[in-house]
Amino acid sequence: MNTQRKVPVSILTGFLGSGKTTLLNRILSEEHGKRIAVIENEYGEVGIDHELVINADEEIFEMSNGCICCTVRGDLIRVLGNLMKRRDKFDYVLVETTGLADPGPVAQTFFMDDEIRAEFALDGIVTLVDAAHIEQQLGRSDESTEQIAFADVLVLNKTDLVDGEALDRIEARIQDMNRMAQVVRSERANVSLDTVLNLGAFDLDQMLERRPAFLEPEYPFEWTGVYSLDIGRYELSLADGPDPTMSLVVVPDQGTDDAALREGAEWSVRRYAEPTELIRPGEEIPVGKHVNLRLDSPGRKSFFLEVDAQVRVGLYAQHTAEEFDLQLTNAEGATIGLEVERTWVVQHEHDDDVGSIAIERDGDVDPERLNAWLGKLLRERGVDIFRMKGFISLAGDSRRFVFQGVHMLFDGQPDRQWGDAPRRNQLVFIGRNLDEESMRQEFDACLM
């Protein structure tokens, strides 16, 4: 009856051995001043004496109507129902699932049960991925695929057990399956608390703020190299390569850690969307601009980079340095070493049947047509749609309509005023064997 703030809940999934228990122990031993209730699965083994660790058998309750979206976790309804009665309530709930769990029922519990929905809000689904084993797991089990498809955060764990190339490949693959998720790398589940708690992952605005380019189909560049430069004039030279031109963005003040590279990538994606400036050999490359280097003359071609303060730059290039034997030298002709580099896999050669579909369109949508389309889509394909979220510009409504869903469960409401912002629509679906082309066409047919 009281309309106090809902208690946020994170769900922790991941195969046996992916590091769930290590992560839980880290969270519980950290000094965060929060009262966190942990609901552990029956095989859980959190070693910490924590007053709010509750063991629960995963009781998957299906309904007589056979609808998969009505399948819920009965144990959670009981346990959470009792916990929420206490006056000294906890600030947060973490639910750990067993390794082979389908995240659907646990997520659906927070949509389907009125009493749970009144008191708790699903904050996010965190999936731990064992970098050393995920490639075999993805081939063999639907569960690991679904755990990735449902996630808001993918913690790529045990990165010390595989080489950098394999990591990039795995990351590209899981990101391609679930473009909505944020990928974080870790060695021994040593991620910060903020990675797992208070994600606001079901809040689209927060997600767009964090990853403004998440709706982009893929990165338009393949390689990033970071160089530390003093004041001076530098020569960027390239040998003959596979293409007559190469796009490039030079990012100033580039950091070297994974997060900084990602941030640079997101920033570059937006630069890449801007018109390009053609640069001929011998000309200067402007920093922070989308440029296209002309490479169609034979032999090595040189371009120049002018630096007027000590700075670390990131080169976000359409091709890898290897393909054109890219070299950076200073005025004395000395080669500048790479501080760090990474590749972004653009082509996806694997054939996972789970993938992401992003639809981004300007303009208004006819509410009736949208309703009819979504109703039909969820009725016919709800089983194969794991997650969806987005916002819509409904004709005749001054507010944005935001929605999210799990399988056939759809939850939407008007949110903030559009005001002066351009009216547009952004939708993401994570699902199995979804037909991207027809979904786009059907959505386009809903536009005014």
Partner: protein, 348 residues
């Protein structure tokens, strides 16, 4: 929520007394002939109040570590049992005002506890098991694991115990624990009530329906269309009327004649939020309903299930339980803020 003091009880409900416990009032009951009201709360405290004045008789804080989950008054009224998250059942003597017996049931929560109608047996459920104890607190038998956590228990007679869980209602012989009957239906049963003669078993289900069986024929029926899950159920003393929650309405099904199959239920409207608890007075077709909106309504029902509200009152928060005094002349309400409110119930 409007100020409670501005909303005095109306109709048949007359102001009695109110008191409070330390946390969410989970369960309670009247001892002896209404001499005291005992209440267990979510912080694990057990409280006794004088039935007439509401004065605190005694308090035991932290009787159950983690909180009280259930309470049952012994049919004699001289003892009661509490169950909690600490995996224990405590048997309290009313006259002694203290714990007479401690029963360690298991390491999981003990969610349900019930005395047999003759007071000989005490049943308690813990996780997937139900266990039955004798008058001395010794274990008589324990069931095998149910397919899921036991969600409700009830005595169909002095000699037989019923349990509900996901997909199943099971009947056990009280003295041996031998299984007598199993009624199956694929759904999550969240509540259970038996008709006074033990012939009809009705369960509220997670999918917003009430499922019931006639035991002699094992014929089952489903009553669907509820906006919420019917966790509150109550049969009247004659077994003619089944009152159900599952929404803002109190829905009453009539088992007279060939019903309720093929009949329309009576819907009683006065609550503006989901009904949380229902209780029939022992005689006279008086039904009390409580809801999330904090309202308590007393209805006078006819044999066909039609009825009128005869009293209404408001408490400070969600009504968690309602208990008629054995003589039917007073009604106690427990609420989510730890309030215990008692009204005298007049004729109109």
């Amino acid at each position: 929520m409007s100020d409670v003091s501005t909303d005095s009880p109306k109709g048949a409900l007359r102001r009695g007394w109110s008191a409070s416990v330390g946390d969410y009032a989970i369960a309670g009951g009247w001892t002896l002939h209404g001499e005291a009201l005992v209440v267990g709360d979510a912080a694990g405290g057990v409280y006794a109040f004088d039935g007439k004045s509401g004065a605190s008789a005694w308090v035991r804080q932290e009787a159950h570590d983690g909180g009280v989950l259930a309470m049952a008054i012994h049919p004699s009224g001289t003892a009661f049992a509490t169950a909690g998250q600490d995996g224990r059942v405590l048997v309290w003597g009313v006259a002694e005002a203290q714990v007479k017996r401690v029963i360690d049931v298991g390491s999981d929560w003990v969610e349900h506890v019930a005395w047999s109608p003759d007071g000989q047996w005490l049943a308690a459920s813990c996780s997937r098991q139900v266990r039955v104890y004798g008058a001395d607190g010794g274990e008589v038998w324990r069931s095998d694991d149910h397919p899921s956590t036991v969600s409700a228990i009830a005595w169909s007679s002095a000699g037989e115990l019923a349990t509900a869980c996901y997909g199943r209602v099971t009947f056990f012989d009280a003295s041996t624990g031998k299984r007598r009957q199993k009624l199956e239906w694929r759904g999550s049963l969240v509540s259970m009530v038996l008709s006074p003669d033990g012939e009809i078993v009705a369960c509220g289900s997670q999918d917003n329906s009430v499922h019931f069986w006639r035991r002699s024929t094992e014929q089952d029926s489903m009553m669907s269309g509820y906006p919420a899950k019917p966790s509150a159920l109550a049969f009247d003393d004659t077994g003619a009327l089944l009152a159900t929650g599952g929404g803002e309405a109190v829905t009453v099904w009539n088992f007279w004649g060939s019903g309720p199959e093929g009949t329309r239920p009576v819907s009683l409207y006065l609550h503006v939020q989901t009904v949380t608890t229902l209780a029939f007075a022992h005689r006279g077709m008086r039904l009390a309903s409580g809801a999330r909106d904090g309202r308590v309504v007393v209805w006078s029902l006819r044999r066909d299930g039609q009825g009128n509200p005869i009293g209404i009152a408001l408490v400070a928060d969600v009504v968690s339980a309602l208990y008629w005094r054995p003589d039917g002349r007073a009604l106690a309400a427990l609420d989510a803020q730890g309030g215990a409110t008692v009204w005298r119930v007049g004729n109109r």
